[in-house]
């Protein structure tokens, strides 16, 4: 395909950015995030209608955009921006496909480390610790505000970085905006998680008499051993239901 001048980016980027918040709305086992990616990319592709092929290039690009894709939802913008830019830059269809495929793994792994195993547990363990130390509803409100400041900024940066980089998007993955937080968030999360657990434990058992609190501690210890040493075979949800059931029966029989 010939190179087509990319449109003035502000309005399409805004539309694409807003659509990216729904990127998983049609999540399915066939294309995973693909349909949502196509929906988010479409505003950026409208300039392709002017390429003189009666919209064929636009429709072909929309079809490519909606194919199988999987990555962390907050970083999908990087792929949306990069592939849309590649379409304008005249990249051949198979190169666009390869770009999408190549981005799945890195964006997934990066997002999981940065967000699911970093930013999110860092702030949620901090919120749990704050409530255990006496904070009220505002602990949840502060968690939401701070978390989403990072979340929205990451989505915005990802889309703009992808659009700016096009097929050279690999350089965006090495950008300090991603790498510096990645180096800091893991240790910070581990430290705050450590602080949170003893505080949460005391907060949970505080209302109980000593003997009952001891029973709670025994259940916790046994459950940790089972969850750590039989991962996959023992699930915390079933252990939780078993523990509550044991409490109901034990409380009924207890005289």
């Amino acid at each position: 395909m010939d190179r087509v001048n990319a449109p003035s980016p502000a309005a399409p980027l805004r539309a694409s950015f807003l659509r990216l918040f729904t990127v998983q709305a049609s999540w399915n086992y066939d294309r995973l995030l693909g349909v949502g990616m196509g929906v988010a990319e479409e505003p950026l592709l409208r300039g392709l209608k002017r390429d003189g092929t009666d919209g064929a290039a636009y429709r072909a690009a929309v079809a490519r955009g909606a194919r199988f894709f999987n990555a962390h939802p907050y970083l999908c913008g990087l792929a949306v921006g990069a592939t849309a830019r590649a379409e304008y830059d005249g990249a051949p269809p198979d190169e666009v496909e390869r770009l999408r495929t190549a981005l799945c793994g890195p964006l997934g792994a990066l997002g999981d480390r940065l967000v699911w195993a970093g930013w999110l547990p860092l702030l949620s363990t901090a919120a749990v610790a704050a409530v255990a130390l006496g904070a009220r509803w505002w602990a949840a409100a502060v968690f939401l505000l701070v978390y989403n400041a990072g979340h929205v900024a990451l989505r915005w940066w990802a889309l703009h970085a992808g659009w700016a980089a096009g097929t050279g998007v690999a350089s965006a993955l090495r950008h300090p905006v991603l790498q510096r937080p990645l180096a800091l968030v893991g240790p910070a999360m581990a430290f705050v998680a450590g602080v949170c657990l003893p505080l949460a434990a005391r907060w949970l058992v505080r209302p109980f008499p000593l003997a009952v609190a001891a029973g709670s501690a025994v259940v916790a210890a046994v459950a940790v051993v089972l969850l750590r040493w039989l991962p996959g075979r023992v699930r915390s949800l079933w252990l939780g239901m078993g523990a509550v059931a044991l409490g109901l029966v034990g409380g009924w029989l207890w005289r």
Binding site: T22, Q24, S26, A60, W137, C196, G240, A243, G247, G251
Partner: protein, 225 residues
């Protein structure tokens, strides 16, 4: 409790259910947020915070990656808060945890049904999608969203109905020790889920050393607080 509050709980549960995957993933689906706001709606912040923390600990054991199947703890927390509030006993949150875990399991299975239905819709429109039909693309996306709204509302309503039923059949009249022991053991299991989940996220090496340092800091904070 007024019908207005009940309706607000259903709306809140629906938004929380949508937030988990579909839109906008701003983490109102986190149990601490879902539970706290449900507590505020019911005028029982204490129950909201307690169930919020308990289910947040269970949530630490979940990593929502790829096509993994997992329980859904957001609407479950709202149901657990409502059950605890309706039962009216200070330790009723143990029974709330039990019901919430059942709802989480059920809600997780509805996610699988939703994804399968979305896949069927995509397969039906495969030719249109491959021809770059933007209307078909938008229709499939909007239909997926509508399915998730329905799913989340259904899960929340069913869960709240179960909570109401618990209260209606006289669970509130159980001996006090039943509430106390179920709460203590349920809380212990939640703590174990939190420990196991966080240790898995932390991993080994430097992360584990930072975790140990934090643990020491937490114990010091216990002495000071």
């Amino acid at each position: 409790m007024s019908a207005g509050t009940l309706a607000l709980l259903v709306v809140w549960g629906t938004l929380v259910g949508l937030d988990l995957v579909s839109v906008p993933q701003m983490m109102i689906a986190r149990p601490l947020v879902a539970g706290t706001f449900a507590g505020l709606l019911l005028g029982d912040l204490e129950a909201g915070l307690r169930l919020g923390i308990v289910f947040e600990l269970f949530q630490f054991d979940i990593l929502p990656v790829g096509a993994a199947r997992y329980p859904e703890y957001g609407p479950a927390t709202i149901v657990a808060v409502a059950a605890t509030h309706w039962l009216g006993h200070e330790d009723a949150w143990g029974i709330g945890v039990g019901l919430g875990l059942l709802v989480a399991l059920f809600a997780g299975s509805t996610l699988h049904v939703l994804r399968t239905a979305n896949a069927r819709a995509v397969r039906r429109a495969a030719a249109q999608l491959e021809s770059g039909d933007v209307r078909a693309l938008a229709r499939i996306h909007a239909a997926g969203l509508a399915r998730d709204v329905t799913r989340a509302a259904f899960v929340t309503t069913t869960g709240l109905a179960a909570a109401w039923l618990l209260w209606r059949v006289g669970v509130a009249g159980l001996p006090s020790r039943v509430f106390t022991l179920s709460a203590a053991l349920g809380g212990g299991a939640a703590l174990a889920a939190g420990v196991a989940g966080l240790l898995r996220i932390v991993g080994r090496g430097a992360g584990l050393r930072w975790f140990a340092a934090g643990l020491a800091g937490g114990v010091v904070a216990l002495w000071i607080a």
